[in-house]
Amino acid sequence: MSAITAPPRELAKEGLVAWLVTTDHKKIGILYMLTSLAFFLIAGFLADVIRLQLAAPQQTIVGPHEFNQVFTLHGTAMIFLFVAPFGFGLANYLIPLQIGAPEMAFPRLNAYSFWLFLIGGLTVFSGIVTQGGAADAGWTAFAPLSDVRVSSGAGQDLWILGLTLTSISGIMTAINFLVTPIVFRAPGMGMWRLPIFTWEMIATALLILMAFPPLATAFAMLLLDRHAGARFFDPGGGGDPVLYQHVFWFFGHPEVYVMILPFFGVITEVVSVFSRKPVFGYTGLVLSAFGIAGLSMGVWAHHMFTTGAVANPFFSALSFLIAVPTGIKFFNWIATMWRGAISYETPMLFAIGFMLNFLIGGITGVMVASPPLDYHVEDSYFLVAHFHYTLGGGSMFAIFAALYFWFPKIWGVKLGEGLGRLHFALMFVGFNLAFFPMFFLGIMGMPRRVYTYPAQAGWGQLNLASSVGVALITIGTAVLVWNVIVSMRKKVPLPDDPWGAANSLEWATSSPPPEFNFRALPPIRSKRPAFDLHHPEFAKDSPK
């Protein structure tokens, strides 16, 4: 292994300046996570506006102009500025710790990618103050709706520019996620001993490197169409609106897995620790991550079944196949719990919630991957329900599991269990109340992205139930914020491993870890070095 060179000189160790100039992976990870959570609160507020407006038919709390900006920014922020970047933040924090390294491979690049992400996010939202308001063409910005003749405002340009910055930021951070675990592993940390979370991030990084450049391409073409008369997507000039969808979804579907693979890793770690058992099916979990990543590059046009312009059976078949490696993960989690000794601390509750919710997201995913069914439910509330079950009930629940699980490591403080359970209960009940009715609404014929609906459609009661659910989610989020405030006030020193039987190396250093992570590295002789260190009597049972 090559020698690790001295990290860049720090300009300041403490205070605001230290955070502004830092190249420390832990500080950058924290900045990423805090920023993404701030965007989550904003996007959550926008969800409240949507659900208030739709709680009953023919309401006028907001008009169509405002509503269309609100749902566009809600989707944009949740996808580009919350779920994916939270995964990046967690990975920035954890990868060097999990592989026994002092830093990321490219610390300055890492800092640069964070600041680009923040500036990109703010650029998207800055559209609010322009004349005509923020972008309102949806998070997909299909041409020709996003063309300058239809969406003439500067808000759409700022949206395109901002997201181009975040996509460049994602590419740079992916280079770090890929290179660091390959070249910076501590002695003894073979590739087949990497924690599953780190493996999932390697697969995620490969996906980003394949999928994000096409996104930047789609946006560049859109900008050229808007301001340089390129007419890539203008049928009047020999262009093709369907081409935009191809390029966008060539990014967009892998992006779905960029937003879930890291969290499959989170769930794997949490389930193992709270079941008091080694991860079941390590090899299968690693291979399935790459199976999902590989297949996800070939399914983009399942978002385009109703265009009549793609080879539906091909994309349908590959999409169905993704259920197989995803199923492998489920069965491995169940087998990890099987004959375990399970305790129900908040991270585990959120992991259980994740499994139950994501299962529904996955099953309905197979349904919408079938063109004959998609012909009915595409762009309906059924689809809205489906992807919220994967991204909200799935990724968001895993984000909360991660938050409760690694909070003691990052801040040296355990979040309160009582408030944590309350948070979980509100989230689980609220989430299912909010999104399960949407499956019925979609089948009944309610299209997505409508700012109002007629009373005679008969959708009022289910929409009201959904809005009550979102209110519960909002209260749950307030409980989380309260929990953080209360818990941070009473600091008690925590051991290296506050959960009692944690596996990976981040639990073999202090909470929080010192600068450059480890004062001394424990010997790495199995897949769970921290466990071996704290429980040498069971080390002989550790998978090698």
């Binding site: 063409a137 375990g340 466990f531």
Partner: protein
Amino acid sequence: MRFAAHTTTLAATLTLALGGCSAIPSDTTQQAGQLHGVWVVFLSAAAVVYALVAGLIMWSVLAYRRRDPATVQAAKFHQNVPLELAWTVIPVLVVAGLFAVTYAGERHVDSVVTPPGETVQVVGFRWSWRFLYPREHIAIDGTSDRPPELVLPANRTTEIRLSSSDVIHAFWVPAFLFKRDAIPGIVNVFDYTPLKEGVYPGRCAEYCGTFHAHMSFTVRVVSPEAFARWARERGAPA
């Protein structure tokens, strides 16, 4: 609370599967009959898979609770190759079966009868629809305040030639379990064979800007005789 909510979800899924099959129409068009068949297969499979996997999850969670708080290692098994092969191969077979059902259903629905009994050109625009009956010389233009009505004869196949004059829209009749995108520069062709007379709401499903929510229409299916009468009254002389 968690378990209760979960049970509710499970019950709701089964309700969706069993009740859903009857809530999803099968007799509005000949094509909807085919689509309904695919829905029944998928909803049944969804209910079975959900009950199986969610059942395994909840069983593990509840049956293997930690009894001795000092436990740091429960059972130590962490692999079983035959088991892992089984839960790889069996899902492949399941999705292969689902794909066969999908393929057959789609082939039937996407096939277009030639020559059609009727032809209607449908053009989406912000924010309504234009229906053109070329043979009968009828043009119906809607506005977002006055949704247009598409009149179709029952028991005859009508070919829809769908396009758009501005952005992308989608022509969706929920009761027919079918939609198709209206894309500028492209003419999408599909057909309906309505079986049941009645009035069915239709909507734009592809977000198309400010008044997307008001881009609705109705479909009125009438007897072939009533259709001929309507066409004579509405039609302009050739």
